[in-house]
Symmetry: C2
Subunit: 308 residues, 2 copies
Amino acid sequence: MKEIKVFAPATVANVTCGFDILGFAVDQPGDEITLRKSNSGKVKIVKITGDGGALPLDTDQNSCGAVIKMFLNDLGTDQGIDIFLDKKMPLGSGLGSSAASSVAAIFAINELVGRPKKLEELLPYAMEGERAACGSGHADNVAPGLYGGFVLIRSYEPLDVIGLKTPNDLYATLVHPHIEVKTKDAREILRKQIYFKDSVKQSGNVAGLIAGLLTSDYGLISRSMHDYIVEPIRSILIPGYDEVKRAVMDLGALGAGISGSGPSIFALSNDHDIANRIAAKMKTIYAGFEIESETYVSKINQSGPKIL
Amino acid sequence: MKEIKVFAPATVANVTCGFDILGFAVDQPGDEITLRKSNSGKVKIVKITGDGGALPLDTDQNSCGAVIKMFLNDLGTDQGIDIFLDKKMPLGSGLGSSAASSVAAIFAINELVGRPKKLEELLPYAMEGERAACGSGHADNVAPGLYGGFVLIRSYEPLDVIGLKTPNDLYATLVHPHIEVKTKDAREILRKQIYFKDSVKQSGNVAGLIAGLLTSDYGLISRSMHDYIVEPIRSILIPGYDEVKRAVMDLGALGAGISGSGPSIFALSNDHDIANRIAAKMKTIYAGFEIESETYVSKINQSGPKIL
């Protein structure tokens, strides 16, 4: 194989009560990456198209470049690679943009050189790609991006990632309003200490959400999708959040929350029509605020990256 | 039917990371209650045998009496009932002693008068029985006692109780050392505020434990049975706790923790021999401290109370 083209999906992390531990992948949007073997002996980012104009072309600073370089290094090969990244999703949206690039890159390079490593061995590389892009090697976007479906990050030390079988009819609606929320700000406004009783309530919902997903109990999923700790604080950074949430719940969403650290908002539903109606409503609300937005509707992505 | 005899099981609440939200029932120990219809028009506690010497015979203060009186009241009948309670488990042990009495009583009276209410309708009564005995109407002992198995209390307002299907080969070993730990003290030493990062770690384990139980993944159950918040504080009240925990983990337990608010300690394992070896070791360790103890080994009870 001389060339490969791979799609990797956007992801939603911090799924309501599952802050830092629960994420899922969607069918769209996502990133497309093309890797082509070269004789240069170097990993080179040739071109970034789509929404990726602001991304660095420097190999080490770019999540795609960094992760491929590291991978080839570990294999002990100086194979040259030309990278063409088509960024089909917004940056800084809270939809796991850097994770999608990182996952696309590591999945593609592993396939291109004959699949020397197993899927689970690719996760630490994808996390390093996140580190190159964001400064910290979180797994709650790259893990669902790589495995598909809902993923639980039970622990970081040691890393313990568990794929969760999820119900068939689960749809995600996403809206990305054109607002800037800096991940750093979103981190810093969180309280360092919380009430233990809130933590207990939150853990009841985490337990309920996991049980609901694993037993396809949509009612339980819905009753469990509440976040007493992070949403009340972070939603302040997102204009229109309360209106959107109220409206999508009125339309029949199972639940809704901030995607990652925002500004994107996600809603889950168990009906395709409802998912579409939610998208239309999200767009209308932001149009009312004179804020541009994109919306996306898809099933929960069950397969992770795919070769195009 | 003129008379009925019912067994209700002991229960373990606060299952490691699942403080206040997760409990399970065991096959032994437990309570036996006999109810006999009388013509007195009154609910009367005739006799308490076994380990129940310290319990009040006054109907309203005793969880059995209070719960039966309330139930008959709601049915609008003045049927007289004579109660004989055979307390086959220690009081104040952290094994859900008052819950077992309360569950036995409400299950038995419902059967005795022709089963006018469904099982789930009995839960609020059993909780009121807890309130009569302990001053607060917690569900984390009565719910597993009534339903059997592992039970999640997702929420109290509104009450949302979810039975969790659990693996076939799951054994509980319990030790009740003869130490007094007052529930009130155990509550009061808990911190009101905790670090958010500890809460996130704990919720990862809650999620892992639920997923492990529902998918019969013993490894995941084991990796998830850690409590960063309550155990470090409450275990101070239980002499020998650290020794017991270390020893049972060395013997191959999946995990171990404080049962309820102590002093009893439970361990889970997926092998009957290991469960028995753990019991023997627990007894030996407490004997070494010159503290008397009882131990119990059983499968997770899957059926709740039963008619004898």
